[in-house]
């Protein structure tokens, strides 16, 4: 198959189609930069979707739990070795992604005889000041983008993901209350999972709120918080709905 270039291209295209098909039912994850920190959110069915990576780094992802785990472990290993051999201040998300995770995911994706990683990821670095946070979108094939507007969304469908992100950037502008932000992210999660549109056909607020409350029954809402201020180097803490006032 690989001896002819066009067959290799075909194999890679098939592989991309296979991965997207496998990820179709994945539950989207979100990140939102606020004045006091960065909030991550995922809704799962028993498997964790939101994780601490390092002092100011976190990850949220959808996909196969075993593949998320491999990426998570690789990121944690790299961050801690870097912190120990240099200093915690030298651990940066840009270097972690561009020189580590992205290259490894791309190499894996193009090895057409090996199983591909079934993941779509958000990686977050908490900045010292508001407005300096970094939210990266990392794809199963190693491609990545720095997300602007202080909002990150990882979903299985690219079009609806971008619509959702644009809607959240507008809706979250100026919001600082964690409860209000979690509520909006859960509304967005419900709209995405119900395959509704974010345009003119967007359901009313009351319907969206009732929708997410009904849809999360039996599921686990995971909220991660990277606090901008704190006495310790490690800034990540998991939060409950009650802790954000919902």
């Amino acid at each position: 198959m690989t001896e002819e270039p066009y067959r290799w291209l075909e194999a890679v295209a098939n592989r991309r189609e296979y991965v997207r098909e496998q990820l179709k039912g994945g539950s989207p994850v979100f990140a939102a930069a606020l004045p006091e920190g960065v909030l991550l959110l995922g809704v799962g069915s028993g498997h964790s979707k939101v994780f601490e990576l390092f002092d100011r780094l976190a990850l949220a992802g959808l996909g196969h739990p075993a593949d998320i785990e491999k990426v998570r472990q690789a990121a944690i290993d790299a961050a801690h070795v870097e912190a120990f051999t240099r200093a915690p201040e030298d651990v940066s998300l840009r270097r972690l992604i561009s020189f580590g995770l992205s290259a490894q995911l791309k190499a894996n994706f193009e090895q057409i005889y090996a199983a591909p990683f079934l993941v779509e990821l958000l990686l977050i670095e908490l900045g010292i000041e508001a407005g300096t946070d970094a939210i990266f979108r990392l794809h199963f094939d190693g491609a990545y983008q720095l997300q602007t507007g202080g909002v990150g969304v990882a979903a299985s469908q690219a079009d609806s993901e971008e619509e959702c992100r644009a809607w959240l950037v507008r809706e979250l502008a100026g919001k600082a209350d964690r409860g209000a932000v979690v509520d909006l992210l859960l509304q967005a999660w419900w709209v995405l999972t119900e395959k509704r549109a974010f345009g003119e056909a967007l359901p009313a607020v009351a319907e969206r709120q009732a929708g997410w409350r009904a849809a999360v029954a039996g599921k686990v809402i995971e909220i991660g918080w990277l606090a901008r201020r704190g006495p310790r180097a490690a800034r990540y803490e998991p939060l409950t709905l009650a802790q954000v006032g919902l």
Binding site: L53, V71, F84, R232
Partner: protein, 257 residues
């Protein structure tokens, strides 16, 4: 992605896989005069455990600095107090800090207190060649929270230079000034009023500062405390809520009855 570590969540084996394991150096017979850091101690008081250290480092008969932090927060629920050679001790502290956080993040649970206690013993054993050659000796104290109890209870451990660990019932001390400190702690525990274990935070801080003042009268390697010169100790409290630092300003306030 990267190959799994030989022991899940074990940071030292991850470092070994990258050939950057700490405390793996050959000692030279012509080693220079070593820097030494003394004195540290810890005792149970009514609200938890107080870990204390003076801030002096010496090399032979020279005072190198009076600004060393010998009581180090390893993570939110454990504290290391170092006596001995700072070069080795600080490296041990750094290895422990990274190890505990690495385990917590990678395994999604905190390391148990016995495992933390043994992790330090393992570092001391790794340092055995240096210890036996008289270079790089470290005799630390360690305090951590036991989460098997409700509410979590702080415990203090002391070590010998080879890595044997012992739980301190009431108190422990290490370093050149520890003889004086242990004597006073023993006296106070048997005959004092209040006993250290009955003291509130203000009393415990005042007692700790006075212990260092007395120890410095008998041991030139112990820096002591001098409020007039704004020279205080490093004090950390470990209680059910975790580790917190008693600042110089708090020490200045608490030192007077």
């Amino acid at each position: 992605m990267s190959a799994p570590t030989p022991i899940a969540g074990d940071f030292l084996s991850l470092l070994a896989a990258h050939n950057v394991a700490p405390l793996r150096v050959e000692a030279s017979p012509n080693a220079p005069v070593q820097l030494q850091a003394t004195t540290v101690f810890g005792f149970h008081f009514a609200e938890g455990v107080l870990m204390a250290g003076d801030r002096r480092a010496t090399a032979g008969n020279l005072i190198v600095t009076d600004r060393v932090e010998k009581v180090i927060e390893i993570d939110s629920t454990s504290v290391l107090a170092i006596a001995g050679v700072p070069a080795t001790a600080f490296e041990m502290a750094r290895a422990l800090q990274t190890s505990f956080e690495y385990y917590r993040r990678s395994q999604l649970q905190r390391l148990s207190l016995p495992a933390k206690v043994r992790a330090l013993a393992r570092l001391l054993r790794d340092n055995l060649p240096m210890t036996l050659q008289g270079v790089g000796v470290v005799v630390p104290l360690f305090a951590g929270l036991d989460f098997t109890l409700t509410p979590p209870k702080p415990q203090v451990f002391f070590y010998d230079p080879l890595g044997a660990q012992f739980e301190a019932v009431g108190y422990a001390a290490s370093g050149s000034g520890s003889g004086t400190i242990r004597s006073i702690l023993s006296y106070q525990e048997q005959f004092g009023q209040p006993r250290p274990s009955q003291m509130n935070l203000r009393e415990a801080v005042r007692f700790a500062l006075r212990l260092l003042m007395v120890a410095s009268e008998f041991d030139s390697a112990t820096g002591g405390v001098n409020p007039a010169a704004q020279t205080f100790a490093t004090l950390k409290v470990l209680d059910a809520a975790g580790v917190r630092t008693i600042t110089d300003a708090q020490q200045a306030e608490y030192i007077n009855p």
